[in-house]
Each structure stands twice: as structure tokens, then as C-alpha cells.
């Protein structure tokens, strides 16, 4: 039996978790899934046996509503039992809908947008002072680029050249009530980051090779903080959900789940 790839496991988990719990945000999970796949499988230095190691990389999910994909990544990296994923969003669950620091492997709770970058920035500042060589990764949505607090953090990190901070923007072009371009136009997004003193990569957020190359390059940059502006598709990989606003709200139905699994040739 051929073992499934990490990306495939994430994909199955996310669609199943949102179907079983009948909860929202599958679209944003799928838009950043390839990023999470590369990050957790190839780049980030974390170890479930030493979850508090001083030299670990730190990861903060600032778009906390897409917790399902990170819970799946952490469970499959051994931070907690995979069976917990079945309790996602349930009464009394250990896995709240918005990502929570009480879950093993989760550094920080978010859910209100615009918080994660500042916290990652503070971690990076301390690590730099203590000469810890690890990196801080923060995954943001494009919607939370609206937040003043995010811009405050971008300006400060650029000014102080916090070079151990790597930010990834999941630019799926949607926020809660519509297209980001229509609500507050963010373009040209990577140029804006650059103007605040960041090293920016504008890439295809579903091309794992591009993601990996950009992340490894960002790790080597010793002068500035880095950002990957990842151009993605909301609901990527799930028929009827791709590029649609409703993928922020509506969970996959049982039929949609079955179609999806059939498509993956996974019906057992």
C-alpha cells in the first residue's frame, strides 16, 4: 500500500472535519493548504517530542478561523492523537473552531484578525536579542491586511529589520463579505510590503516548488523581514467551492464529501 502524501492527508482531513462538524471556513483552509503542506513538511523545524525547545521555529496562524488545516498538520506530526480531529467543533472538544494555544503544538490563539503578526514580531525580537537562530513564521489572510494593527507591525518590523520574521499572506482574494479588491483594494500588495522595508516574494500559492524555494530563500535573508504573497484560490480542490465566497461559510455536504473522496479514489 502506497502511503499518502502529507498534503493529501491534510486535504482529506480538512474536508472531512468541516463536513462532520458542519462548520464554516473550508475555503480558507484549502487556499492555504499547499502552503501549510510545504511549511510543515519541508521547512519548519518543530519536534513533537520537544515542543518547547528553545531552538524550535515558531509558527503562528493569524487567520485563526482556518484552524482545521493546522490541527491536521500538528496531529499528523505527532503533537496529539489524530482521533482528536473527529471532535473538531464538538461540545467539550479539545479543538475549538478558532485555533487555540491549549492544543499541543499551537503557539498562540487567534480568531480575531490582525493579532498574529504583532505577536510573532515580539517573539522574533526576543529571539534576536537572545541570539536564537530559529525563525518565526506567521500565516495571514489577505482580509486581515485591512487591520491597522497588521500595518503597525509591518512598519515596525521593517524599520527595525527584524530579519528572523517570515510572513506568509494567503492571498485568496476574498474576505467575509466579498472580493478584497472591491472592499479595500490591496494591490500591489507585495510592493506595499517592500515599501515598508520587507523582502517580498510574489508567488503561486499552490505551486509547492515555488513555495519551498521562496521559503528557503526567505530563511537565508539576513537583512530584512520577508513576506511571501501567495496567490491562491479560495476552496482550492473542492468542486463547487473553488473561487467562491460561499466557501467561507458553507461546509461540504455528505454528497459533496463523497464526490470529493471519489475524486481522490479514497472511498473504502
Amino acid at each position: 500500500m502506497v502511503s499518502k502524501s502529507f498534503g493529501r492527508i491534510l486535504l482529506e482531513d480538512v474536508v472531512r472535519m468541516t463536513n462532520v462538524s458542519q462548520t464554516s471556513h473550508v475555503g480558507g483552509c484549502l487556499s492555504c493548504l499547499d502552503i501549510v503542506n510545504v511549511l510543515f513538511n519541508n521547512v519548519i523545524n518543530i519536534d513533537s517530542k520537544k515542543p518547547k525547545s528553545k531552538n524550535r521555529d515558531r509558527f503562528i496562524l493569524s487567520k485563526g478561523h482556518t484552524s482545521a488545516v493546522i490541527y491536521s498538520a500538528l496531529a499528523n506530526k505527532g503533537f496529539f492523537p489524530v482521533k482528536w480531529l473527529r471532535t473538531f467543533f464538538e461540545n467539550g472538544t479539545k479543538l475549538p473552531g478558532h485555533i487555540d494555544h491549549k492544543v499541543p503544538g499551537v503557539e498562540f490563539s487567534t480568531g480575531s484578525l490582525g493579532h498574529g503578526l504583532s505577536v510573532g514580531l515580539g517573539m522574533a525580537m526576543s529571539m534576536r536579542n537572545k541570539k536564537i537562530k530559529s525563525k518565526v513564521y506567521v500565516l495571514l489572510s489577505d482580509g486581515e491586511m485591512n487591520s491597522g494593527s497588521t500595518v503597525e507591525a509591518i512598519m515596525f518590523a521593517g524599520h527595525h529589520k527584524i530579519n528572523n520574521l517570515i510572513c506568509i499572506v494567503d492571498k485568496n482574494q476574498f474576505q467575509a463579505l466579498g472580493k478584497t479588491d472591491d472592499i479595500i483594494n490591496l494591490n500591489p500588495l507585495s510592493k506595499k510590503w517592500e515599501s515598508f522595508g520587507w523582502n517580498a516574494y510574489d508567488i503561486d500559492g499552490h505551486n509547492t516548488s515555488e513555495i519551498k524555494t521562496a521559503l528557503l530563500s526567505a530563511k537565508k535573508n539576513s537583512q530584512k523581514p520577508s513576506v511571501l504573497v501567495c496567490n491562491t484560490v479560495k476552496g482550492k480542490g473542492l468542486k463547487d467551492f473553488e473561487g467562491r465566497l460561499m466557501s467561507h461559510y458553507r461546509p461540504p455536504s455528505d454528497d459533496q464529501l463523497n464526490d470529493f473522496m471519489e475524486g481522490l479514489e479514497l472511498i473504502r
Binding site: H101, E107, F108, S109, T110, G111, S112, G114, H115, L117, S118, V119, G120, L121, G122, M123, A124, M125, S126, M127, N129, K130, G148, S149, E152, A153, M155, F156, H160
Partner: protein, 304 residues
């Protein structure tokens, strides 16, 4: 009081490497002693309080003891969600330090009146609120702050507050007794203690004892001490330079109603319908009836 805070902080930081001070672009001629001695652990975060609170959380997560500094409303209202979610929910070792608590910036207008800060901080999880009355109460609080690794709000007045103690405070708990328990008592919170002392002295000259206790620490830990006082006395006047809604008076009332026989609690604080009055601290204390004369009016009524 703000200079005393920095003196205490510099002294503490001289023994520790993990003390950080962040400011929201405030503290001219106040913070320099810390900056001079700890340049790598000081950051001016700019006029960006939300980021300041998030950064302080990140620093604290890495094992540091963090102090943030700003004016009352900028330090609390403007970035309340960061204090709630980032600092308090994660139970982090961050002390939010505010100057201008109460009405010391009274002439600057409503934007600078720190009169809702206790309400919005004391309700947060894991939070302890410190409201010292003078530099010796500040030292008393600071010695507790350095041992407390959970979130803290330190509410300072401004500067130039009179010394209200002759020597270092040696109270074993969180409540400091000035005049022993009597029929009528004042529970005071913060620099307004000076008015309560004057009031008690006024009655002492008339041969009437009014009890007086200073309560610079609002927390779960202080509750048993307040409860004990309330269960032993009959009438308590709470005094604060803060709105009556949700502040120290509310805190005491909440404790009182949990008693089988609640004490009578009379709340003296900033009046809700006079929140936008402008003037210096003395003038505003008088308008809100929280100066010595205001207290005398309340007590005279009780004595009738």
C-alpha cells in the same frame, strides 16, 4: 509617581536580563534612566498601541517580563482586545502601565480622562489591577508586581502626588489600614486617598472616628480581605477617581452582595452625567463630590 515607577523598574532590571519596556511614544523625561541602562530591552513602538500589546505578548511568550507604558486610555481602551486575547487569555507576564489614571489630565479634555480603565481591565481573565496612591504605595505594589507572572494593569496618576506615608508600607495583605474600623468607613482606591485622609482628620478633630483603608490592589486575591472588613463593619464609602460604573465601588459592592448580611456600600466616584467636565484635578474632584468636602457631605448625612 511615574518617576518612582521608573526608579523601581531600573532597580529591578539591574538584577534581571529579561525585563523589557515598550512605550507608545510617551514618557519624555521619565523613561530615560531605563533606556540608558537597558538600551536593547527598550523599544519605542510608536503611536501604535495595538501592535505594542501584541509585541509585548510575543516577548512574554519567550520568557520575558514586559512593561508597556502609555496614557491611560491609549494603554487600555485603544488596544483592549489585544490585552484581552493576547495578554490575558494567554496569562502572560505583561504589566500594562498607564499614566493619567483618573483626572490628572483634566484640563486636556475627555480624551485624556482615565475614568473607565479600571472597569475594562478588572473584568479580564487572570488580570490584577494595581492603583497606588503615592510613591510608597507604588513601591508596595511594585514588589508584588515583580512576583506576579500573570497580566497586570498598573494605574499611575501623573507626578507630584504628595507622600501619604511616613515610612515603607509593611502591610501583610493587599489592604492597608490607615484608621481602624469604625461605624462609618472609607475604602479608598488610588491617589484620591489624600482626600480621604483629610476627611478622616477633619472628623477626628471633632472626636468622630471614621475608618479608612487604602485598597491599591483589585483582584480575586484581595477579595477575602475586603469581605472580612465588610462583614465586621456596617457602612462603607468607596472612593475612587473613576466612573462609578464597574470601578472600585462596583468591585466592593459585588463582594458585599455575596455576604449573608451585606454591608451598606455608598459609592463615590466620577459621575456618569458629568464625564465630559473639563478642569484641573482639584476642580473636577470638587464637581464630582470626591474631594474632602464631598466626602464630608456624605458622612454628615449619615451622621444625622
Amino acid at each position: 509617581m511615574r518617576n518612582s515607577f521608573v526608579e523601581n523598574l531600573v532597580k529591578y532590571a539591574s538584577k534581571k536580563k529579561n525585563v523589557y519596556l515598550l512605550t507608545g511614544d510617551l514618557g519624555f523625561s521619565v523613561l530615560e534612566p531605563f533606556i540608558k541602562k537597558n538600551p536593547k530591552n527598550f523599544f519605542n513602538m510608536g503611536v501604535a498601541e495595538q501592535n505594542m500589546m501584541g509585541v509585548s505578548s510575543g516577548l512574554a511568550l519567550e520568557g520575558n517580563k514586559v512593561f508597556t507604558y502609555s496614557i491611560s486610555n491609549f494603554a487600555t481602551s485603544r488596544c483592549h482586545e489585544q490585552i484581552r486575547n493576547d495578554i490575558c487569555y494567554h496569562d502572560l507576564d505583561v504589566t500594562v502601565v498607564a499614566v493619567g489614571g483618573g483626572l490628572p489630565y483634566g484640563t486636556h479634555g475627555y480624551t485624556h480622562h482615565g475614568i473607565e480603565d479600571i472597569t475594562i481591565t478588572r473584568c479580564l481573565p487572570n488580570m490584577t489591577v494595581y492603583v497606588p496612591a503615592d510613591r510608597l504605595e507604588l513601591e508596595f505594589c511594585f514588589n508584588k508586581i515583580i512576583k506576579n507572572t500573570s497580566p497586570k494593569y498598573l494605574r499611575l496618576a501623573k507626578g507630584g502626588e504628595p507622600d501619604l506615608y511616613k515610612k515603607k508600607i509593611s502591610a501583610s495583605g493587599n489592604v492597608i489600614c490607615h484608621k481602624k474600623l469604625s461605624e462609618i468607613n472609607i475604602l479608598s482606591c488610588g491617589s484620591i486617598l489624600v482626600e480621604a485622609i483629610d476627611c478622616c482628620d477633619f472628623y477626628k478633630e471633632k472626636g468622630i472616628n471614621v475608618g479608612l483603608f487604602s485598597c491599591p490592589i483589585i483582584s480575586e486575591e484581595t477579595k477575602p480581605e475586603i469581605k472580612k472588613l465588610l462583614s465586621k463593619g456596617k457602612t462603607f464609602i468607596t472612593l475612587e477617581e473613576h466612573k462609578k460604573i464597574g470601578g472600585f465601588g462596583s468591585y466592593v459592592s459585588e463582594i458585599s452582595v455575596s455576604l449573608e448580611e451585606p454591608a451598606r456600600v455608598i459609592s463615590c466616584g466620577v459621575l456618569s452625567d458629568g464625564y465630559d467636565l473639563v478642569g484641573n484635578q482639584k476642580y473636577l474632584r470638587s464637581l464630582h463630590g470626591i474631594d474632602k468636602e464631598g466626602l464630608v457631605k456624605v458622612i454628615n448625612k449619615l451622621l444625622k
